[in-house]
Symmetry: C2
Subunit: 214 residues, 2 copies
DNA sequence: GTCTATACTGTGATAGAC
DNA sequence: GTCTATCACAGTATAGAC
């Protein structure tokens, strides 16, 4: 008998081509806008005819789905890497985290549009694609929780701060830093409102909840 | 001599048909999504063939442009009406204003998506269409200014608060009120941070600037 | 000026040959 | 697995009826 091969070279090649298609799709999306993505553009970029893409993705929305998952997976990886270098001082850490996500979003507006908004008519992310997005929320909650911020209200407020600044920055002044400064300042207001210690650097992370219901 | 007629019935009819087309366009946009607007759908709804629309609008983007102007004009009218009924008490007035705009945005997500730009590939609002949007900003600044909030930083922060909550509400929980409550609370935090009086109702509006650079 | 008919180009998607 | 051919749909340009 021949036995089962250890590696499936055919599957590997298939996966590599899928990745190549996705890379081309991102390039087109960044140039033309995420909603203006066309299969013919993508196909030409990888040296194929448009129908050939259907050997790798079942539909255009399937490509969007893979891009959606990729975007949130990148965000998740970024947050997890970031966490390892965060300060123990709450304000410093929170500011760094908030600004990191802002930069992540603003650096690629097409990607952020896909990640967040209901902008593409027929597209709804699949549960699998949505999983890393949920993981990012969980990581965010964990980060806030490590500084004693646990209530849903406080987490929601935290998220809206970056969402608002990112929306304004990408819509009104793409490429600028005006709303990054607003976000920077809002971190202080947020910490003030929740009574998070100002400058003194604690020896260890806060153990007790600080925030709470209004 | 016949002289010039007082009314131009032909122009009136033309304008009426334009308005009718726009109404149909809004209906399609709300049903299918703003980016999925199709001229054939709009035309069918007003009993025309698609090319006939070109007697009233030069292109699809021209329709978007008129819709954009209409949306911001509605917002402008709403704000001006709202101003006449606002409390003298800063917090109360600011809360009412912020929640009004939130409701305005969330009640018609397709409209808000168009107002916020960046989502429709080839579309850029014309200067004329953009004018009411600028007027809304001016009204907002005037409102904040009447309570002593004048710095650009403070105005920017004010705007991001609603933008963030609206983005989250429309994206994650359309039809709900979860992020409206977050916005409600953020008004208090904003006022606290800027030192705006809490509950005592002043006899007159504040005259001195309260906010400022960090 | 208003509207229809026709047609050109580009889109996502499918069927079938190789 | 990739191609060609084709389809139904889109936006839009143009010609011509009224």
């Amino acid at each position: 008998m021949l036995g089962e091969p250890i590696r499936d070279r055919r599957a590997e090649r298939h996966e590599a081509t899928r990745a190549e298609i996705l890379t081309a799709a991102w390039a087109v999306a960044r140039e033309q806008g995420i909603a203006a993505l066309s299969l013919r553009d993508v196909a030409r970029r990888v040296g194929m005819q448009a129908p050939s893409l259907y050997s790798y993705f079942t539909s255009k929305n399937d490509i969007y789905d893979a891009m959606f998952a990729q975007a949130w997976t990148d965000a998740l990886d970024g947050i997890r890497t970031l966490k390892q270098t965060l300060s123990d001082e709450p304000r410093e850490a929170l500011r760094t985290a908030q600004l990191w996500f802002f930069d992540f979003a603003v650096s690629d507006p097409a990607r952020y549009l896909l990640m967040g908004q209901r902008t593409i008519p027929g597209f709804e992310p699949s549960p699998q694609a949505y999983a890393p997005a949920v993981a990012v929320i969980d990581e965010t909650k964990a980060l806030l929780g490590s500084f004693g911020i646990t209530s849903d209200d406080d987490v929601d407020l935290w998220i809206t701060l970056s969402a608002g600044c990112i929306a304004q920055q990408t819509a009104n002044e793409p490429g600028g830093t005006r709303w990054r400064l607003v976000l920077d300042r809002s971190v202080d207001f947020y910490c003030d409102a929740l009574g998070i210690t100002k400058s003194q650097r604690p020896a260890t992370k806060a153990k007790k909840p600080i925030g709470g219901k209004r």
